[in-house]
């Protein structure tokens, strides 16, 4: 009797070690390339878009003052047309609140009139007016810069 299996059915020690080396190298390469890809594709924070589609103009009837949380702006539609005022305080950049008599900064107390002009400091400038236009499809487009 011969207890040894046929020679062709077993993996030799040399082959096993060879496959182990190849596997290790392939695994390392996979991990390495994966991490490299993750590193290259990493984007800490997406840059905010320079313009926003605010939806149909019909959503902003005459007389409306609608704050938009995404753009931190208030969209005003009056007899003069559409206007957009940034809700970012020009003093240090806090978000101002809309009040019955205009806007108020909760951080340092600057106040602004309903048209965005400065009522009292410490801000030294009015709220920024942003460009807003209706496009051919009847959507309002707000430009941040």
């Amino acid at each position: 009797m011969n207890a040894m299996p046929p020679k062709g059915d077993i993996i030799s020690r040399r082959s096993f070690l060879s496959w182990l080396v190849k596997g290790s190298l392939a695994g390392s390469a996979l991990i390495g390339f994966g991490m490299l890809g993750r590193f290259i594709s990493f984007q800490s924070e997406k840059s905010p878009p320079s313009q926003y589609d605010l939806g149909l103009v019909t959503d902003y009837p005459v007389g409306s003052r609608k704050p938009d949380l995404t753009t931190q702006a208030v969209i005003i539609h009056d007899n003069q047309g559409y206007r957009a005022i940034s809700l970012v305080c020009p003093h240090l950049g806090c978000k101002v609140n809309m009040t019955s008599d205009g806007f108020a900064c909760p951080c340092h107390g600057s106040r602004f009139l309903p048209d965005g002009s400065l009522r009292n400091g410490p801000a030294s400038r009015p709220l920024t007016t942003l460009r807003i236009e209706a496009n051919a499809q009847g959507h309002l487009i707000l430009y941040m810069h």
Binding site: I31, S44, H91, N120, P122
Partner: protein, 405 residues
Amino acid sequence: MHRQFFFASLLLFVASGFVLWQQDRSPKPIGITPTITGQVEYCLTCHTDLPEISQSHPVETFGCVLCHGGEPMALTADLAHSTMRGGANPSDLSVVEASCGGEMCHSGTPQVNRDHIQRVTTSLQATYAGAIAQVRYAFGAQPDLTARMGIYAIDGLAAFDRTAESSPALQAFGSNCLSCHLSAQPLEGEAYNRWSGCSACHSPAPREDGTLVHRLTTSMPYTQCNACHNRGNYSLSDLQFHSRGDTPTDRLHDYYQPIAEFTRCEWTLDCEDCHTRQEAMGDGHVYSSKKDIQYVRCRTCHGTLDSLPLTHTITDVNDLSLRLAFLNPVVDLKVGDTILMTDKGELLWNIRVVPGEEGATPTYELFSKAKGERYTFKPVMGSTCQQKPDQQEAHYCHECHATQR
């Protein structure tokens, strides 16, 4: 050679796996891009539970790094904290300019009342120049009481160096008695617990168990001041600090000077209700004594027999009093209100004249800055007080108005 290659490949695989495992263990970054800096920072990955430090410094506007320093993109505590300014206290005077300074923040011009850092760094609480001058004079190291030295050198003051003093008493003073200025580390013990720099006054002290309170405030109870001003005395006889031995059980006795007398307003109000910003934080000039800068007297609020206290009527929406009242809204101050004012023109924005009939004796209302409580009082003029108008030191008033202790 084959054996080395085999082990090297295995080692590389294990190392790669370890790095991958480590990366997967890292917390998922939580980033914010503060409005002021526009630079992403990941501090909130670990610090999401921190409360907003104050209404004036919201995190989405200021972020963390602008004030605290540190590595904004790091995701490990050691690396993130490695370049922080002042440890947990960026207001320490050694780093305060980098942390809190800037034209728009706290080192702007006096004209726009943004010169806090310039004023504080010249104040007696920071330089300790008055105490140093008095002790040096007492031991013959200088000919008069004029301030010549401070804890650090500034324009007009050299740095006090105990090793340069020839008197052993002054060397002992330098070793034992410089624990209460704004740059000093507090003495050990809960009673002395406080931060250094701006936070000595404007932030609650670390709790007894070591936990920190993330808060900046202009609403400071008297207990905040007590960490330095009510815990004992430095003795000239042995040049040591002697802590008070009693444990006060009520507010009236929570003063450290056993022989001193106090009127009711002194032990019911908080220190900041009467003492002004310039008294506490300096006015940008170097003084030789606390008496030279601490000028609020009884008559500042109560007037004298022949004069009412000075007043200021708010006519401008940009009036400083409105800004100060906004930061600590204990009183609904508005244009048209009349408030009290010190001899130097400092606005006592928390003390308002109650509108009344023209010609009638006015009534004043004081809103305590820490508690928000309202107190009313009358001027001396028109009262039965017999105090001579030219004798207005507090001890004259105490003769009749001090409370027995």
